[in-house]
């Protein structure tokens, strides 16, 4: 479980995250939604340690991530997988080498075991016959799948996805959504998806946090959303603008 406790983030004078409290449970697809510039990317980056909070805590199973020693943080990070908005695949490596990379760095598997795991992960994301292609040679949807395969190559406990559907066509977006949902259930991981795609919200939003102007504006699930829109004009405007 990941908990945010009174999380604040300033960029010089600009107050980007305002006193955010939230809990994200394992085995549930947690969605952070909100308009661009609303603070959701900063929130996710603060959770994975790419930004430091100005005040407040990010707790991984009760451990205050930002107050851990550097070496302890590194160990915790090995339990975190992240799918970046631009996929962040290593462009000098092939698809296979990208997925193999975390195993090469942090496991004691031999080459044969690593290849077995790589092929398992690639088949899990329905990517076959692309092992020897470079990221430049594959489509956007395939890149996202390689990104997911790389993220789950190690037995991670936490998966963060920053706008997994950006730049994808609607059909591929649904495939990626379904994949993230299935992986979350199958491995029982804590998945946090940063998105402003309302179709994703309606399909897989089991726990939704709506961030507006740096504040947690609303929290619930996809079934509560329609009811919440009636009493929450900001949420209503966001949802309506998305269709």
């Amino acid at each position: 479980m990941i908990q945010l406790v009174d999380l604040n983030k300033y960029f010089e004078e600009k107050h980007v995250l305002k006193n955010i409290n939230a809990s994200f449970l394992p085995g549930v697809t947690n969605l952070v939604i909100g308009a661009s510039g609303g603070g959701k990317s900063v929130m996710v980056k603060t959770m994975v340690g790419l930004e430091s909070p100005s005040s407040g805590q990010v707790l991984f199973e009760g451990q205050d991530y930002h107050n851990l020693e550097y070496e302890q943080q590194q160990i915790l990070r090995r339990e975190i997988g992240m799918l970046f908005q631009g996929t962040a695949l290593f462009d000098s490596l092939t698809v296979e080498q990208n997925v193999e990379f975390p195993l090469l760095m942090f496991s004691n598997m031999n080459k044969e075991e690593r290849m077995e795991r790589v092929n398992l992960c690639l088949s899990r994301v329905n990517l076959v016959n692309a092992n020897n292609k470079t990221p430049a040679e594959i489509s956007g949807g395939m890149k996202k799948r390689v990104g997911i395969a790389r993220a789950i190559a190690l037995n991670i406990k936490y998966l963060f996805c920053d706008e997994p559907n950006s730049g994808l066509d609607p059909l591929t977006s649904r495939v990626i959504d379904a994949l993230l949902h299935d992986i979350t259930k199958e491995f029982g991981i804590t998945t946090i998806i940063n998105s402003h795609d309302m179709k994703t919200v309606k399909d897989i939003g089991e726990h939704i946090v709506f961030v507006h102007q740096g504040q947690k504006w609303w929290e619930g699930n996809k079934d509560d959303l329609a009811e919440a829109q009636k009493s929450n004009p900001e949420l209503d405007a966001f949802v309506k603008a998305s269709f």
Binding site: I80, F84, A88, M105, F106
Partner: protein, 252 residues
């Protein structure tokens, strides 16, 4: 950002560079790859520049000695002086400094752009999220490869500078080979070899570490990646010339 902030950031950056690599085997593969990229790919440009510079230095020095300035008649200067000037200036200045200024443009810009591109495409963030010390992971193989390979290129360049001068002497007929070799031998001091190696190691470190630093802190997009490369080369050239002076003053 003022100069002191920049120096402070550079020192903090270097503190993270020299950490034990996470995986020796991965590090070794990266080191070999970088040595190949820096060494083999730079060899042709180093060879060409060294031979041409050696030849030009010989022809111009001979021309200056032959010029009657009115102070002393040219007949007083033996042509062996040309060999002496080419030899000592090659070892002390041309081989380390000119070679490194050229390599600043080739290797320095390449490193800064490569790391800058990794930064803007979030590859550096991906390393960090995985729990890898990204500064050390991307920089240490490049810095060590530079410290190993660039001094070797400088030594090759030194021999080729002298060879270029010899070639020019033979092809233009401005002096005999005996005169050239006599001049070379008369001017050489073992201390010069030490200066050459010290400059080689220091300049290699400047080229690679400044390029890594500049690339690592790139922010923005493609435009800023290009700017990082340009900025790295400018700073490297200034620091090479500054340390050239400091080393010369300290060791000679």
């Amino acid at each position: 950002m003022n100069v002191f902030t920049e120096i402070g950031r550079y020192i903090l950056f270097m503190r993270y560079v020299f950490k034990r690599p996470e995986r020796g085997r991965v590090f070794w593969n990266m080191l070999v790859r970088e040595m190949n990229l820096m060494g083999v790919d730079s060899l042709v440009v180093v060879i060409l520049i060294a031979i041409i510079t050696g030849a030009v230095t010989t022809v111009q020095t001979a021309s200056q000695l032959a010029y009657d300035s009115g102070i002393l008649p040219p007949s007083l200067f033996p042509m062996a002086i040309v060999g002496s000037v080419v030899g000592s200036s090659s070892v002390l200045e041309l081989a380390p400094t000119i070679t490194c200024l050229v390599l600043a443009g080739k290797i320095g810009a390449n490193i800064a752009s490569e790391i800058g591109n990794m930064r803007v495409s979030e590859q550096i963030d991906a390393y960090e999220v995985m729990g890898i010390n990204s500064i050390s992971f991307v920089s240490l193989p490049k810095i060590l490869a530079g410290i190993i390979v660039i001094p070797c290129l400088i030594i090759i360049s030194n021999f080729l500078l002298i060879f270029g001068g010899l070639l020019a002497a033979k092809l233009t007929g401005i002096m005999t080979l005996d005169e050239y070799v006599t001049g070379l031998r008369s001017s050489f001091l073992p201390l010069y070899a030490k200066v050459l190696m010290v400059k080689g190691v220091v300049f290699s470190f400047i080229i690679t570490s400044l390029a890594c630093f500049q690339g690592y802190y790139t922010q923005g997009g493609a435009l800023e990646v290009g700017e990082a490369g340009t900025s790295a080369v400018t700073k490297i050239c200034v620091f090479i010339l500054l340390f050239d002076l400091i080393i010369a003053k300290l060791l000679l």
